[in-house]
């Protein structure tokens, strides 16, 4: 059974419908990618899953239809959304941002261990643990956003363009940590990326969106073998 399954999902902002029937699924302990040009609807698809945009169609999580639930409810069920733009809580310290991620948990000892794990995963954050998050560099903020999502101990992390605005080497480091997280923390992922090279270092398969519709779906190797995909997303 798949962990997460979207069936014919539409989404609208006010009267403007921007998703026109999206379907794809994510298997238990899997990682799937969402690719597509600017405005294709990748971010909106993640918002549909976390319940921050109005939708129709079915969104099944562990077999249960979660469409219509708000973000605090989907978070409670085990969905952690790392939003586009990172959502850093600027006036809180790095440590406090991580603790906010663990808000719904009660296991205090394990929370402390997990903070240490995040700081081990992202050594850059280690030295900044008491600084205001607003004072971090873009890359450090992205690391913090991923760490904060992990702190919820979710079943699935929704990752929205973690490479946005980062130098290639920084983006690579963020994705290396994400790969390690996937391996060690047994968390599933939906990875939105414009940079398919980065996405394919994490995901097993991917869906390509075009103006709010599914244009293509395939395994990692299938997609990487296609000329059109290579030209559009892999830099030739």
């Amino acid at each position: 059974m798949s962990l997460l399954e979207l069936e014919d999902v539409t989404a609208s902002y006010g009267h403007a419908q921007v998703l026109h029937g999206i379907s794809f699924s994510l298997s238990e302990n899997g990682a799937t990618g969402l690719l597509g040009a600017n405005g294709a609807g990748k971010t909106t698809t993640l918002r549909a899953i976390s319940g921050t945009v109005r939708t129709t169609g079915r969104i099944l999580f562990e077999g249960r239809d979660i469409s219509g639930l708000g973000p605090d409810r989907t978070a409670h069920l085990g969905i952690a959304h790392v939003p586009e733009g990172r959502g850093t809580l600027g006036q809180l310290s790095v440590r406090e941002n991580l603790l906010v991620g663990a808000y719904q948990r009660k296991d205090r000892k394990q929370i402390a261990t997990d903070v240490d794990y995040v700081l081990d995963l992202f050594p850059n954050l280690q030295e900044r643990v008491r600084s205001n998050a607003a004072a971090l560099s873009g890359g450090e903020q992205q690391m913090l956003a991923v760490g904060r999502a992990f702190m919820a101990k979710p079943r699935v992390i929704l990752l929205d363009e973690a490479s946005l605005g980062l130098a290639p080497s920084t983006a690579r480091r963020v994705y290396d940590a994400i790969v390690r997280l996937r391996r060690e923390a047994q968390v599933s992922m939906v990875v939105v990326e414009q940079n398919a090279n980065l996405a394919f270092s994490v995901v097993d398969d991917a869906t390509v969106l075009e103006t709010g519709r599914v244009a293509l779906h395939g395994s990692r190797d299938e997609l990487m073998g296609m000329d059109a995909v290579r030209r559009a997303y892999l830099g030739g």
Binding site: T52, P83, G87, G90, E96, V100, Q104, A134, S137
Partner: protein, 293 residues
């Protein structure tokens, strides 16, 4: 020398009044990210509830407890019924909405109790003691003690509790906080409720000195805002220190600078505040707001 100390001590007891309201302003700012002008209106309304109770023979302490509970419910209700429509929108609009609330609440108090000031019974004995040649009223000592307790409690709430952390997160970025499963609406309601409850305490503390009327806090609110801003807006300790500073500077100026006198002395603390903020824009105790894009 003892005259000087007397002036300082009197200034501190004025400062305590400003501090009471300033703490409530800091609390709402911490919990909602807004400067809430309705703060004074909520405090006065709750204080009038205490007043009505004391008029029918309820002891002041019990009246205070009822006013605090009433204040909490009033704040929560106003957040739920009114402010929620402005959340997620333009913060300026929300601040204007709090001003509208202030006007409505003052109007309601005036409708029931009139505009003229009424005497209000004090929580503390109405006596003055002499310490080393300086006269201090027990009321001032009591007020300052309560304020210090409240200040420490707020500091602990924000620094060391999960609720405080959650309230600060929501004030910082409600959408992003919701993604971590924080119950944003409920936290905002609690924030407003706590602020109004604190306003009730402040109102009951200062009413014996100011006499209760719908406009009782209009004047104080200005000083309290100045204190909160000078203190860094998000720091309970900063607000109290700044309020004490303003009270003392105001009194010293009135007493020692002849050309200033009692009429002009209210301007002095504001000039001091402006000078300090030019040098230290984040206030005395505020964390520097760092923004990177």
């Amino acid at each position: 020398m003892s005259y000087f100390i007397q002036v300082v001590v009197d200034g501190l007891s004025n400062g305590a009044i400003y501090a009471a309201i300033a703490l409530a302003i800091v609390l709402v700012y911490r919990a909602t990210g807004l400067i809430n002008f309705a703060q004074g209106g909520m405090a006065v309304t709750a204080t009038f509830v205490a007043y009505a109770l004391t008029r029918v023979g309820v002891p002041v302490l019990l009246a205070l407890v009822v006013a605090v509970v009433f204040g909490f419910l009033l704040g929560a209700l106003l957040e739920r019924g009114v402010m929620r429509h402005f959340e997620g929108g333009d913060p300026d609009t929300a601040v204007v909405a709090t001003i509208a609330l202030l006007v409505v609440l003052s109007g309601l108090s005036a409708y029931f109790f009139g505009y003229e000031p009424h005497p209000f019974p004090s929580l503390f004995p109405n006596r003055t003691i002499e310490v080393l040649g300086v006269f201090v009223s027990l009321r001032s000592i009591g007020t300052i003690t309560v304020l210090l307790v409240v200040m420490i409690a707020l500091q602990l709430l924000f620094r060391s509790t999960k609720l405080g952390l959650a309230m600060r997160a929501v004030a910082d970025n409600p959408r992003s906080s919701a993604l971590s499963g924080l119950p944003v609406s409920r936290l905002l309601m609690i924030g407003w409720g706590l602020a109004a409850a604190l306003g009730a305490i402040a109102g009951v503390l200062v009413a014996p000195q100011l006499f209760i009327s719908p406009g009782m806090l209009d004047f104080v609110l200005v000083y309290a805002l100045a204190s909160a801003i000078l203190g860094g807006l998000d720091s309970p300790i900063g607000a109290v220190v700044a309020a004490a500073f303003i009270g003392v500077v105001e009194n010293l100026a009135g007493a020692y600078l002849d050309f200033i006198g009692d009429d002009l002395k209210i301007a002095v603390p504001f000039i001091a505040v402006i000078v300090i903020l030019v040098v230290r824009p984040q206030g005395l105790f505020g964390r520097k707001v760092t923004v990177r894009v």
